[in-house]
């Protein structure tokens, strides 16, 4: 999912041209590295009776390559380290890291590789790709909205829903929803 974000960045960069008139497409094109310091990955899982489980991933890395001539050929790759999950409740974090959910010891990385980037408006794009977690790979899609474009820096707001059951993480359903809502702010710096 996170990887898709990168794809969005690529799209957004292309999109940026009309919105941020001062920035030429040629300026947005290029390779960006996700800056963890100015990025965040939040997730939320609803639960029965109201409320939900909210958390973040503190460690992740990724890159965005925005193609100068063809947005669709832009590329996003993203890796999240599930060991860094944080919910504010240590016992829940330990549960999420365990083999009940992420099995972080044996599957230390969750990866996203974009397969296509489709522009959906001046500032938004749909990034499709392949998400791999716990050895299982499925196609997923994320929506990226361009949040800002300054010299050498590009910012995206990325959202998407992922079914955790596909990745062998269905523990706790139906108490906790099968749908994981991602809300990410990703800032890329030209590498």
């Amino acid at each position: 999912m996170f990887a898709r974000i990168l794809g969005f960045a690529a799209v957004a960069a292309c999109i940026a041209t009309p919105v941020f008139a001062a920035v030429a497409l040629g300026d947005a094109a290029g390779s960006y590295a996700i800056s963890p310091a100015s990025s965040s990955i939040h997730f939320s899982i609803g639960k029965v009776g109201g409320g939900g489980l909210n958390g973040t991933f503190a460690h992740f890395k990724g890159s965005i390559r925005i193609d100068n001539s063809d947005v669709a050929r832009s590329q996003v790759n993203f890796t999240i380290f599930p060991e860094s999950v944080g919910t504010g409740q240590g016992r829940i974090d330990a549960f999420l890291r365990s083999d009940a959910v992420f099995d972080a010891a044996n599957s230390p990385e969750i990866q996203f590789r974009s397969t296509s980037v489709t522009r959906t408006s001046d500032t938004t794009a749909l990034v499709t790709g392949r998400l791999t977690a716990r050895g299982k790979t499925f196609p997923e899609k994320f929506t990226a909205e361009l949040g800002g474009l300054k010299a050498g820096t590009i910012k995206f707001h990325v959202t998407g829903k992922v079914l955790r059951s596909r990745y062998g993480m269905d523990v706790g359903t139906p108490l906790y929803s099968n749908i994981v809502d991602f809300d990410m702010t990703l800032t890329g710096r030209r590498g």
Partner: protein, 189 residues
């Protein structure tokens, strides 16, 4: 109908079925409780804990039914051969068993209600059981976990006493105290 309700000398089917159903669940809950907190796999432990919660609510419902049934049906008296001491203590032991069968599910309900894990309760995935109106905190969670634990030990001790007494009646005193809780029509009056 006569065999459903208690008579002046026998237990009816309703009492007998409730007795054994509650007994099996109650003893099963002790075993499940000990196993679930010692299960290595966090996933299996989570699922066993949810099952323990579901069975706890089933037990609470059944024991309320049992107490209501007991209040509306007089229990057959003990055989004349039973001594004065047992005649006085047996009802106390039974009262304590009823009390623990109510207190254990309630303390478990309090435990999940105050737990800072905020895990919802859905007995057998059928409906959402609301939490008791208690303030959640780590301290309250520790308190109710300890209370649930001590009540369980008291429950096990009483069940052992209850089973030992039943076996003593059957094999040593050779009266019908055990058999009358097996079927309304068994002989041995």
């Amino acid at each position: 109908m006569q065999s459903i309700t208690n008579t002046t000398t026998r237990y009816g089917w309703a009492t007998i079925i409730l007795h054994w159903l509650i007994g099996i669940i109650f003893i099963g809950q002790f075993a499940l409780g000990f196993i679930m907190v010692r299960t290595e796999s966090q996933r299996a432990a989570f699922e066993l804990i949810q099952l323990h919660k579901s069975l706890g609510f089933l037990l609470l419902g059944l024991i309320i039914l049992r107490v209501a049934w007991r209040l509306g049906n007089s229990a057959p008296p003990l055989p004349a051969s039973v001594g004065a001491l047992e005649r006085r203590t047996a009802p106390l032991a039974h009262l304590a068993l009823y009390a623990l069968q109510i207190a254990l599910p309630l303390s478990g309900w309090a435990l999940v209600s105050v737990s800072t894990l905020e895990i919802p309760t859905m007995p057998f995935d059928l409906f959402v059981m609301p939490n008791l109106p208690l303030v959640e905190s780590d301290a309250a969670e520790s308190f109710w976990a300890a209370a649930h634990w001590y009540l369980a030990y008291a429950g096990i001790a009483l069940v052992v006493l209850h089973v030992a007494a039943a076996l003593r009646h059957h094999f040593r005193l050779r009266d019908n105290v055990l058999t009358r809780m097996i079927t309304p029509s068994s002989s041995g009056e």
